[in-house]
Homo-oligomer: 561 residues x 2
């Protein structure tokens, strides 16, 4: 990496300001030189679109589905799981039925190798034994499949891009996989209102590229954008990188088409921003993780594509100052603030150790905390002016210690790839215990420190110890921390030190044990840490009312124990 | 009104620009003189807070509850309605129970005069015969009331500020009124996250004033803000004036506390932006109009209060150009656009005729359409610059013909009061048929024209005819048109000409028969025009599952016929 060593030069708004402002004495917004792009290897934000791999996550780096024969069967690993004896096993008659209604490329049967990408999750933590993958092309076919399965008590797992992190999108036993790969048509887009209507199997990035040509963008963005399906995004209420700016899918999804377990098609594909006619049924499907039916179509409000985007990465000495910088960013950047991310020095250590972003990193010195701020607006001049004022105020108040501002799109990607490279850097160590917690900002980082202390006291954290790192990063702007605990291998002693401690800690601090990754199989039995018994009871009531045979994505989401 | 007649002066950003730009030749952004405030009498946005009058609306002008003895009983007016014989009638034992659990100021019994503000809706269209109003102070008391009512099959109408327009918040027969007036405490506010938690009975304007002191604002604003309760806002999924900017309550409400009909308290008062743990049950309550239980507490994400707000009113010759201006505003004003409202020349005629805003109006000439654009941002200089560029582009492209830009807060209020005075101006004529429709922008104004043609062809529209005006106004930015048909009196012949024609028209154009006012009693039986039978069926299933005795707000919301 080649740094321009001139600590008094600032390049903002395309012109170099050579004056050294008094308030800037401890700070340099360095010129990230155009000729030194190699300092950060861009970029692994994109998942290869050819991967066929229900749900979604902002935490997934680019990686092909590796051979998965070594993946242990979920049912063997989690011995408390019992196949529901009410479910029928697949027969030749069933196969004949599916073959009769599906297109030629819409059925995979009994070929273990071909079934692996559908039976095994992206993390290679979960593996089911499904014998049949159905890939319908139309909503009518989905309806036929579910009606048949419901009448015949065949359990079904809806699956999108298979990018989930909690085992929600793959079978546990022999459930049929209903994959939305073949449902990938854009149905309509209105350039006046910005409302997009499309099939559930459209890939997020494909939609975003399509919209970009018309001056719009998707209101959500994830690391898995190159693979995840919009239907899976909605089914898992994906959060991701733009939630701070555009809000959750509960606000931006305007309508859904979904098929109920009995085959009923709910045609609620509204293209209206306002519609107060009856219960907002679609909301139940947003985040239901395929347990109430299959989402087949999505209507979503898309915002104009920002004309000016910029990114700064800052070094900060205390988490209190990370919070201070966040409050100040809401005040000074306000309507143009589109991301406020952070990672800690343990995350940076792994980025360096595994050479994920090249050997050199944008800030020369090490800091306990790093903050990435993205601004997106309609006027570059105004936006850069706001950013400059904001950074100067941070300096004047000694809230940050160092920082860089990107000068072009490549550098923006490079800075983002630091943040987005962290999950991959963590995964290089061996095993990763991944937690996705929402907690109030006041105790946001205390969780990482408490876990570290606990593991250290137990003598399992450190060099040549079972646990090598406790890495914290995530979306400060959303109150969502990702805690990755890296270890040589999954170790029951370590697991028992972390769980249920981390869930109890979260409950005590009024947090959520799943901010954005959902419950799936992984957290179904921990739901009580975030929801009261009366809430769980009404959830079960709704599940029972809509899916009385329980065929939709069984063993997951709601507690089985 | 005193206009500065200098057609070449422009006052923007606090300085007068005396040059006449070529592209400005057909346009003047007039100086709305500080000394001529009398031209628009400010402002009737606020409802008197002393009125005790569930639900909410952006369409309500300031008006005290007038004597209501003349209001016909709903049951006498709508003869298809039959009291549900499964509901018990109130007994002395019941009254004793309520008296035993409620505070001294929490019970009104059998005093007709005292009961009127709770039995009669704000529009004086609906009148119930409730003998008892319960005004609990705590969630526990609400729980006790509902448990008792459910066990004893006493029907209940939840009521907030009683500012609804569809008869949803007042009884039809002798239902007990459960009013949230006494539940008015702010529970917590976090100035870092901007998350407010409060009782359901807090008045919207009180909350907004409280937040203003801390640099925040409520994400919704309504004409009825001085009276409406936040609980009613949530129960009716109120839209209002800030939806374009901050999105719907489905996105901004983070948590709810609600009491189910059996007295179960659902404690889902989350203060987290992200929480993917189970079905998002609170969403069912948003817009459920009191039919599933009583909302007792609300957690809501509030945005920073904009530091710079400005408003422009423009005269436009065609509705196509209103649409063009909207598309351009999304492009040029983008993140600072906070309202895009319109009204037509019939609306202006009534404003003039009834002298609602003073005799003089800001634009000298008459135009078929008027547009009000509000911008809200964090930097006045940047925002005014964007507004100027936008207005110049409108002129260059000959999209608008004339306009004014406010110079201070008083003028902002004055310009807003034009838009907000329209419902009052309509109500001065006698009877008003009010419709609140969402439709695609491409056919937005065609509805008004089609209704006019229909009424004219039938010989009922014009001077000395039963119908005097068909007035259209509303939220272009949300695709929400308010159609007010003014008449001497409610006339069955006129009603039959409008209904179900207007609902059929809406259905044919994929619209919603209730954009933001809800269904209440008025539109319950028209739900089929906006929702399919499968959607209505699942709604009924949910209602049956949560309120099996049907005690919550009966006769409304879901079709009874």
């Amino acid at each position: 990496m080649v740094y321009t060593p001139n600590l008094v030069s600032r390049q903002l708004f395309g012109k170099v300001v050579l004056t050294r402002n008094k308030c800037l004495k401890n700070f340099t917004i360095r010129n990230v030189n155009r000729n030194s792009i190699q300092f950060i290897v861009p970029t692994n934000r994109k998942f290869a679109t050819s991967i066929e791999s229900s749900s979604s996550s902002a935490e997934i780096p680019a990686k092909k589905h590796a051979p998965t024969k070594v993946v242990e069967f979920t049912a063997d690993k989690y011995t408390y799981l019992r196949r529901n004896p009410n479910f029928k096993e697949l027969t030749q008659d069933d196969i004949k039925f599916f073959a009769s209604i599906l297109p030629a490329n819409g059925l995979i049967i009994d070929n273990e190798e071909d079934l692996i990408p559908y039976n095994v999750d992206w993390m290679k933590k979960y593996r089911g034994r499904s014998r049949l993958v159905a890939k319908p092309k139309t909503t009518h076919q989905v309806s036929q499949i579910l009606k048949y399965c419901n009448e015949n008590k065949l359990a079904v797992v809806p699956q999108g891009g298979n990018t989930g992190l909690v085992g929600g999108g793959v079978p546990v036993f022999d459930e049929i996989v209903l994959n939305t790969n073949n449902m990938n048509q854009i149905r309509s887009f209105d350039p006046v209102s910005g409302i997009l209507v499309c099939d559930a199997g459209c890939i997020l990035e494909v939609l975003d590229n399509y919209l970009a040509e018309q001056g719009y963008t998707m209101p959500l963005d994830l690391g898995a954008k190159g693979s995840c399906h919009i239907g899976g995004n909605v089914a898992t209420n994906a959060g991701g990188l733009r939630l701070l700016r555009y809000g959750s899918l509960h606000g931006t999804v305007l309508g859904l088409e979904a098929v109920l377990p009995d085959g009923t098609i709910l045609d609620n594909l509204s293209t209206l921003r306002k519609d107060n006619t009856g219960y907002d049924i679609k909301q139940l499907f947003i985040g239901s993780e395929g347990t109430l039916g299959v989402i087949t179509g999505v209507s979503i409000l898309t915002p104009p594509k920002p004309k000016a985007v910029n990114v700064a990465v800052l070094g900060v000495n205390t988490f209190q100052n990370v919070q201070n910088a966040f409050v100040m960013s809401k005040n000074k950047l306000s309507e143009i603030l589109s991301a406020f991310e952070f990672w800690d020095s343990d995350a940076l250590k792994l980025l360096k150790a595994h050479n994920i972003q090249g050997k050199n990193l944008p800030l020369k010195d090490n800091y306990p905390f790093y903050v990435l701020i993205e601004i997106s607006g309609s006027n570059k001049y105004h936006d850069d002016d706001k950013l400059q004022n904001f950074l100067e105020e941070l300096l004047t108040n000694e809230i940050v210690n160092d920082g860089v501002v990107a000068q072009d799109e490549t550098q923006i990607s490079a800075l983002w790839s630091l943040r987005e490279g962290i999950p991959e850097a963590c995964s290089k160590t061996g095993a990763v215990y991944k937690y996705d917690i929402s907690i109030p900002l006041s105790v946001f980082y205390q969780m990482a420190e408490d876990i570290r202390n606990r593991l250290r006291s137990a003598g399992v954290l450190g060099e040549d110890k079972p646990v090598s790192n406790v890495v914290a990063y995530g979306h400060v702007g959303d109150g969502n921390i990702h805690l990755n605990i890296t270890a040589k291998s999954y170790d029951p002693e370590v697991t028992n030190l972390i769980e249920p401690y981390i869930y109890e800690w979260t409950e005590q601090h009024n947090g959520s044990i799943s901010a954005e990754h959902g419950l799936g199989l992984m957290k179904a039995n921990y739901l009580r840490y975030s929801k009261s018994s009366s809430m769980i009871s009404i959830m079960k009531q709704i599940k029972q009312s809509i899916d009385p045979n329980g065929i939709m994505n069984p063993y997951k989401f709601l507690p089985t124990q």
